[in-house]
Symmetry: D4
Subunit: 229 residues, 8 copies
């Protein structure tokens, strides 16, 4: 019996996204083995849901090898991918409690060479906060909209802007909204047409969805930019 | 063994609201007995969830005694209560599929002597429809907001207007929103403070809640209007 | 990337209610930043779901600036709003385990200038406790009824009194009632007409609902009190 | 392959209760075979959830052999068991829509030789209806309490009377209470100590529970009545 | 604002059962106040779901006043009620993990003056363990059957014995059975007729149900024992 | 746009099981196209969940080509596979309402050349029915156990016999057991070790599971039967 | 009181998508009014979930005005939008029962001027069907993947292709998968990074999501194609 | 009252599987008693879900008697059963977080004398990892397939290999897949025919299922290997 881990190492080549290490349910031994392998290979690795204690166990052995962000609980062993030219992504949150999930999306994009801007605390209970920033948002190529509780923000944005929108419901809330089910289903049931949705608290997945959309943009652009394409 | 029905006949005196007859799970025999009793007593009775076939069975025996509205599936055996002076109620819907529930609320208010205005199809996916009517709504003393699917309308209204709001989730939708759970929980989890909520499709209950709020208005007004009260 | 928080600062003007800080899912850094801003601005701020440890972190920096109540886990940075003349609110609990939620409602009303009386431990298993206090309750302009487990108390009160009732289900219970679902759905499904309901454990929201109802009372009263209004 | 049905024929001897035929999910062929066997054997058989159409199929072949009650959808092929001396059972309903389930309990008791009284429409929204009949109920040896919607009636009765109470939640309701879950869980979570509960709409089961309780009464009584027992 | 607790002190007189103190969601202050009151009044009080730490807080002030059992987490401040003559109760468990719930039932009976025997580890996966003890169980006047996981034990016993059976589902299990839902619903859906059920882990409630059944036995016995009754 | 259907035609070769046609959600046009193709190819095809009306539509065009069984709602277009020597399968039901699902399993085995015996109505409420047939069952190589309601039968059998057991929960029941969730989860949570489970009402799947187990038996037997294998 | 319907008529201008008429919960009167308005205005309208009977009611009044497709239950009153140059969309289904949902997506794209190709019956139980078509799929700019039951197809495709993928779970299935919850949650929980998901059976929404993605492609392409952009 | 534990000691003889001790909900006292009894009897005992702290409490008293594996949290007091000749079992995982459950299955097989091979990290998002090992897997007599999140691995394997497959869903995941429900229901709803399923995280149960299947193989093999059997 062995504890080895077999990563999907040609995923980057197949789909342009690296296999991230979902750390929450892995043992310190497993995480350290993966981190060592990444540091040795020089190919980069993203760790998500990495608790502070888990990071400490890695850092004790591989001091300085990992760039850790405690807000999003993500760790990056470099190098990250080269900067993309794929367009502009805006990450929007309804409330400040949604920040960790938004930051996980931002860090995932960063790792894959894609920049993003963040706009926080524009939940619909104070609609003026959102309306005053619409012009700014309309210039993006895609929106990642992060919201917990009743999750109305993606619906309102979806009715106002023609962009691709990936809604990320969060587990922020209590009572009926504890765990994020309401925000998830609210986004799925939206009366605004064409919203897409990822799992609760899945900032990583929303970023990956944008990575799928934006390279497609680039590819199509390239094809059409050629006179005889 | 007997099939008699014992209505709560002094409810009007205790709480100002008549016991309505929830018809959906009653037999034709039970409904006819209640209708006969109401027609004979001359005290009025409201029937909710009365299917067209159920109404026909009553009408065959008591032709003309009942005023039936097929949209809301409500029947009224008069007389209705005298007109109240309690304030203004606006009933707002997100989409035209919410009409039957809104109309049930309107008919319940009508039976109890309370007028109401209706404003339809102002769901948040086309926010301009709502914003252009805000002034009109702000003049009401209370709002009944009827919405299915993701149910974002009560939240947006709750952030814009200081009025008492009773949200009525509806079972309009499919997939995750089929049956109305998402709209219900979205209203309960709202980031807009102070929304109140009733059961799914419960237009009757929302009207009764308004009847509790508006007489309180009257009572308080009367007390304060007297110099030595 | 920044951690700033953007509060909905004109909410008080729009709807008469301040944005409260839902503290449970915020970091100490976020809470301290908001508290500093409130203390500096002199405009007051209410914190809900503020754990003792979170309060300690704030108090270490802003000693004495916050009035903290450990039972309801609420913190208030003054000044509170001026005393209202809007009527009388009674807060009723089924059992002593419902006290924290009831107290959150009371503190929210206090912050907004609205007084309230509390009546505890009148659950329906010992109906005499409730019946002996009915006269007292009937003098209020609105009831906040806080109950966990099977949540029968709002239904019984709703059948006895004509007042506006906001039911607050609590997560008190275990087995099927753990988390508060039964109390919530019991209030929503009540056979007593016109109950309104807020989210589980949402004392804050129930208080805000009352704040919406009572000013309406005042406004209507004023209008009618004028002979030529 | 065969369609034969193997009934648990010595159940009456083991536990004093006959195996009833749950007809809802049986084919007409299966039901007719069982009815023939019962009519031929002369030992009696109770059919529950027997739709009118199913009864008609049996009656076409065995005219007059079955006593059918359309309200409870029960059919009895006699003879019923001899009259018991076990005590008095009262069956109480919250609303007239609960009648079919209450009647199923009454018919099951009747089949097993146990009489019962019925008291209808005493739901707690009109508490006076219940309070005025308490004396009558307190004379029974056991209560079967049938209630849908929020299901508060068993809780109120459980706080007032020391009797064995079997709560039967019903599927009467809509929205959150559609299907009977709220009434079921409300009874299970009751703050009144010592309520027992059976499945939703299970009038048959409630009656069987009483049949278990009352013979025990008789046996114990007999034992104690003998000076040298 | 006050923290006082209002117990239902005439519950014993009304229904023969004392109000127990559900300690899990009460503060140490509340528990100590109740304990002091009980110790001073000399009337006895039962505490359920009392964690070891909560007991320690009471014991530090009222050393020796409370009899605490860590397995069932129950505390008793005496005196207990006088010994009853109501019959024999057997408490049966499917597995040794069900012991705490069974013991809570036993302690509740003990407090109310009713003795009980316990039989453990007779789950149906090893049916011989149960079959070899059937004779012993058949001599009881009522069974409390405690089972988690798939909860098949009450069903098997219900098919074998004619006694009143109160099934207590437990939260023992994991995956689909974690929390006790499967055991609860398995008992409610049982093919054995006449089982009654209480809430998950509710040993206290099962004991109270038996206290309702057994005095009824006594009363009926007394009535019939009189020649001219 | 086309309506063609692409069947997985080499499934039989890969895994020894033919792709069956799940008919419930297919249109008459789709079903007829598949049936024609099967009849023409001479390779056989099994249809499950084929309503009587659907069969009639096929039979009107391909009279006599399909062997239809209304109890299990299965249709077979021959030829079936050659008789296997894989062992003996027994199909056991708790109640006669479980017959359609049991028969679907039997018909699926028949189509694949595997015989089976059926034993009906041996639910655990009448344990003697099961115990008297244990010897017979112990001679099988595998059991398919079909049960609805509380689903205790697979657990009891699993504790008594060492055979491979595939539990098939059925949707037979009402209230909490309506739809089959309780029977499903009861089998999954069983205290009897090593039960395996398939989807609710999935007689087809249970048969396929047996087809996977029994050929393995044959293969292993063949290997070991050869002296030099 | 009026039955008028207020459509969001400038939605096309705002977000490039027309408001479709969700017909399932609308009355014949409402549908006819909308159809008349569309036919008169000459601006086009898409109707989804339009039952055959509803179509007949419209067609009786506006013969020939609507192009109705019974498989997808969609109706189109022309003109449709002009043909786009936005890229290629492939719609993939797991089984032939998923056809109606896939066709709803195709018809929605068609209405908005976007062509699409369809590939059916490539569910993962017969993996060769999918693998043999991978090259064809890899040439698309976006995939709509329609699957019911366990919903594994989007996950397998997401691991193989770098394209934007919108998963549409369908309600095809029974038992645990009846209603589509499993397929929905399977897509949301996918181990393949960057899948996006819409509501169950929401072919319309998936098409709208693609309409958001592909114009973004065009816009970005245009921008980059200009040397000095 | 006593704390003794009654194990099902002839289970090995009846069904070939020992009763394992589910340790999670047992007290240290109960575990120590069982461990002492096992060590004294010399008959062997398997402990599952044994936390490190629980093991330490046993080890402090019975140093060296138990072989503990922290990954699977299993403890074995020897001797284990003699080596079987029943065939080959392969245990396959989708991701490295599934290792503890897989290892529980392996240790359970080991205890019962059955060897197994393990193959890890072959989830379908990187399909090449699985395809490259198919040949190896096809030589086994049975597969235990362990997967969390969306749980697609058993479906893909079921479509490729004709072997008996026991799917073990795991609680690995978050949001909708937290707790393992999606993986469970995905396996139950699989479009691959004949998968069988056990409870979430139930590695022990999957191993026991294999122990039921493989001896049947042996028995059948033996019978057929004899010329005149």
């Amino acid at each position: 019996m062995r504890n080895d881990v077999l990563l999907d190492d040609d995923r980057r080549e197949r789909i342009g996204i690296d296999e991230a290490v979902f750390s929450q349910t892995k043992s310190d031994d497993q995480l350290l083995a993966i981190a060592r392998q990444a540091a040795a290979s020089g190919s980069g690795r993203l760790f998500t849901r990495l608790a502070a204690g888990q990071f400490a166990a890695i850092d004790a052995q591989l001091a300085g090898a990992m760039d850790y962000d405690p807000v999003s609980r993500t760790g990056i062993i470099g190098p990250v991918m080269p900067r993309r030219n794929g367009g502009r992504v805006a990450i929007v949150t309804a409330g400040s409690s949604d920040l960790p999930v938004a930051r996980e999306a931002a860090r995932t994009l960063l790792y894959h060479g894609q920049a993003a801007t963040e706009l926080h605390d524009v939940g619909v209970a104070g609609l003026w906060r959102l309306m005053s920033r619409l012009g700014e948002l309309s210039g993006a190529n895609g929106l990642i909209v992060v919201a917990g509780m009743e999750g109305a923000l993606p619906t309102v944005l979806g009715g106002l802007l023609p962009l691709p929108i990936v809604a990320v419901p969060t587990s922020v809330g209590y009572g009926v909204s504890g765990g994020g089910r309401v925000a998830l289903e609210s986004a799925l049931a939206s009366c605004a047409p064409g919203l897409t949705v990822v799992n609760i608290d899945n900032g990583y997945g929303a970023a990956c969805a944008m990575l799928r959309i934006l390279p497609a943009v680039t590819a199509a652009a390239t094809a059409r930019a050629r006179p005889h394409g």
